[in-house]
């Protein structure tokens, strides 16, 4: 139970059709720091959805958060 409280989930979406990755991270650091701490690198810019709300990449992850990273590509 205690373990669960300090963790959050980050789901990394890749390009459409490629397998997504679900990672458990420790809360209390930014999304980018959390990814770095588990050695995940992103190939392209993303936008973070935190519990369904569009959020800054420097958002500090809270226990129990569900973060989805959506790749962003140039418009045109």
């Amino acid at each position: 139970m205690k373990e669960k409280q300090i963790k959050a989930i980050i789901q990394v979406e890749r390009l459409p059709g490629e397998p997504r990755q679900s990672i458990e991270v420790v809360a209390g650091v930014t999304i980018l720091e959390a990814l770095a701490s588990v050695g995940v690198s992103l190939q392209q810019p993303v936008v973070a959805l935190v519990n369904g709300k569009t959020s800054d990449m420097n958002y500090v992850v809270r226990p129990g958060d569900y973060v989805v990273l959506l790749p962003q590509i140039a418009g045109g």
């Binding site: 459409p16 936008v47 709300k53 569009t54 962003q72 140039a74």
Partner: protein, 627 residues
């Protein structure tokens, strides 16, 4: 039989271009369609160093050779086709050119860039730009081949869809490799957001340049060239070429895999796409427009631009219930998906792809088409339209398709829609004005200003009315190592920047990025390549033969930003126009961007801060005599 060739002319590039040692030909072709007179402006190194080409050259001629306040559809307006210093060179992504003039949609600058092959072909035919004035008495087209120019009769082409006109031109000139810039029925009928199509599937889409072309009775500009666009100093480009060729598969994996349609779902999910004319936060059935379900059913091939290994363009062929869709018209890009899909609450990919095909065949801007149709759908929903036998309806794909045809032909409600949503709202009244999503009368692209606040500022300030291509998209500056962030860091900006809001640092970042985008659109190169300053400087140095520093890149970008502002002011725009219409301030109650967005006051402050950073006064007037 009527004489097909009405006038002829010939002129040839400077020797160093013919020798393959220059990226510029030194020739700007001037065509007066009223008199049939043709001549060349000889331009030298100084000109290309100051303006590069593209938007820079468009503004140069608009400021110097059009009377202030001219009607965009009058003979005195200019239609300018302008490749840039880098167009047609060995640099991948250099198959682009700009088209410009005064916009019949906004009364402001019209400056749109098209990819493909036409721009490179024009330079290979010996011209850096074409400046067209006047109005032909009867429909004509231009035929340019290796320095030789003909004005030819186009009576038999008038009224034809773009692909049909192109087929006839290629057949009668006996060369299937001819590249064409042409208008369809929408341009002929002076639809205020008609596009100029290139090889039928690449649009200089925005701001109604197709109507300017139609107003001049000019159906097409056909080109064929066999000269080589050289470089003044090849070696300078070596490292950049290596960087692109060894890295493009990784750097541009997204473009290779699905192109811009790959972002339809993600932009929707992150609140980046406006839905149901800005009132909803999600579109039911969005999965049907998602790349992984859409591609297998619709995309049969990929296409590219001049010398580009990426091939990000899609070719849609479809035979099925509801519609047949022809591959020659290409396929919808992200913006088109957004405008014809979610904005109109449509989740049917057949309807979106068919409407896209019709826009290319009639020659219509897909963004303003979608924006105007969605606006009309809401007017109809609210009972503001009376006495029409047909009005479009949200979520109804057939009514979208019917609307596109009616706009191009100016039939029934289509005649109102052909004026664009802002003019239509003026006609209907206050209730309709509340539903508008425009800046300076141009429909907003599908990057929601409530999510992307620097983009909102950019929409408000753009000299063309809302545009996403000479702008800063906040999401790219919020990510640690995007090309945007890397460029900003080099300018001393503390990037990544916050996703939301308009911090001082972000307005500065916007200013720098707009300058860089003016350089991209003047040089003219593809913005999908993640160029950093060293690549841009190397490319410009190699092409021009003079050394271009980051500082000079910014000097050029700033010069073009100032010229664009001077043009706007000259055409009667004031600081009151540097804003967004009502829908940009409408707050969503739920979804990923619930409650988000700038207030009018915040936007105003942002505009003032930008003026200050540019050294302009509080009305946005640059000091006199700066260059």
């Amino acid at each position: 039989m009527m004489e097909k060739v009405l006038q002829t002319f010939e002129s040839f590039p400077v020797q160093k271009f013919l020798d393959g040692k220059s990226a510029w030909t030194g020739q700007v072709l001037k065509v007066d369609l009223s008199s049939g007179e043709m001549r060349v402006d000889r331009q030298g190194e100084d000109f290309y160093r100051r303006y590069l080409g593209g938007r820079g050259v468009i503004l140069y001629y608009l400021l110097n050779e059009t009377p202030p306040g001219v009607d965009a559809l009058a003979a005195e307006n200019l239609l300018i086709f302008a490749p840039g210093l880098l167009t047609g060179t060995v640099l991948p992504g250099s198959g682009r050119h700009a088209v410009g003039g005064k916009s019949p949609l906004t009364g402001a600058l019209a400056s749109g860039e098209a990819g493909g092959f036409w721009g490179a072909e024009l330079k290979r035919a010996g011209y850096d730009a074409i400046v067209i004035s006047g109005k032909a008495q009867t429909p004509v087209y231009l035929w340019i081949r290796d320095g030789k120019v003909e004005i030819r009769d186009a009576s038999h082409l008038w009224g034809k869809l773009t692909a049909d006109a192109q087929d006839i031109i290629r057949a009668e000139l006996g060369d299937k490799n001819i590249r064409t810039a042409l208008i369809g029925p929408a341009g002929e009928n002076l639809v205020r957001f008609a596009s100029v199509m290139h090889d039928v599937n690449r649009a200089a889409g925005r701001s109604g340049l197709g109507a300017v072309m139609g107003s001049k009775n000019l159906k097409a500009v056909a080109v064929r060239g066999s000269m080589n666009v050289g470089l003044a100093n090849k070696e300078v480009l070596d490292e950049t070429l290596k960087w692109i060729l060894s890295g493009y598969k990784t750097m541009m994996g997204w473009a290779i895999k699905y192109g811009t349609p790959g972002s339809v779902r993600y932009n929707h999910d992150s609140g980046g796409t406006a839905i149901n004319n800005y009132r909803d936060s999600a579109l039911e059935g969005i999965e049907q427009l998602e790349a992984k379900s859409y591609f297998p059913k619709f995309v049969t091939a990929r296409d590219t631009c001049y010398r580009c290994p990426v091939r990000c363009k899609t070719v849609v062929n479809y035979r099925g219930e509801g519609a047949n869709i022809e591959g020659k018209y290409g396929g919808p890009e992200y913006e088109t998906f957004g405008a014809l899909g979610p904005l109109c609450r449509i989740n049917d990919p057949v309807a979106v792809a068919k409407a896209n095909e019709l826009c290319a065949a009639y020659g219509l801007d897909t963004i303003s088409s979608g924006g105007t149709v969605a606006f009309t759908m809401e007017c109809a929903e609210k009972g503001l339209l009376h006495g029409f036998d047909f009005v479009p309806e949200f979520g109804n794909g057939a009514s979208l398709i019917e609307s596109i045809t009616r706009i191009a032909r100016r039939e029934g409600i289509g005649d109102w829609m052909a004026e664009g949503s802002a003019r239509m709202a003026q006609k209907i009244g206050k209730n309709a004005i509340e539903m508008l999503a425009v800046a300076k009368g141009q429909e907003l692209p599908l990057h929601d200003p409530r999510m992307k606040n620097a983009t909102a500022l950019g929409y408000a300030l753009s000299p063309t009315g809302a545009d996403h291509m000479h702008n800063l998209l906040d999401n790219f500056a919020n990510f640690p190592d995007s090309d945007v962030t890397n460029r900003l860091k080099e300018m001393g900006i503390d990037a990544p920047l916050p996703l939301f809001g308009l911090s001082d640092e972000k307005i500065k970042a916007y200013m720098y990025e707009v300058a860089v985008k003016h350089v991209f659109d003047s040089a003219v190169i593809c913005q999908f390549y993640p160029y950093e300053y060293r690549h841009l400087c190397a490319a410009l140095s190699a092409a021009g033969g003079w050394e271009v520093s980051i500082q000079e890149v910014h000097q050029i970008g700033r010069r073009i930003a100032i010229m664009a502002r001077q043009y706007l002011l000259r055409e009667g725009f004031t600081v009151q126009d540097d804003t967004l219409s009502a829908r940009a301030f409408y707050r969503l109650k739920d979804g990923p961007i619930a409650g988000r967005g700038l207030t009018i006051q915040e936007l105003k402050q942002g505009v003032q801060r930008y003026f200050e950073l540019m050294g302009w006064d509080d009305r946005g007037v640059p000091p006199p005599n700066i260059s």
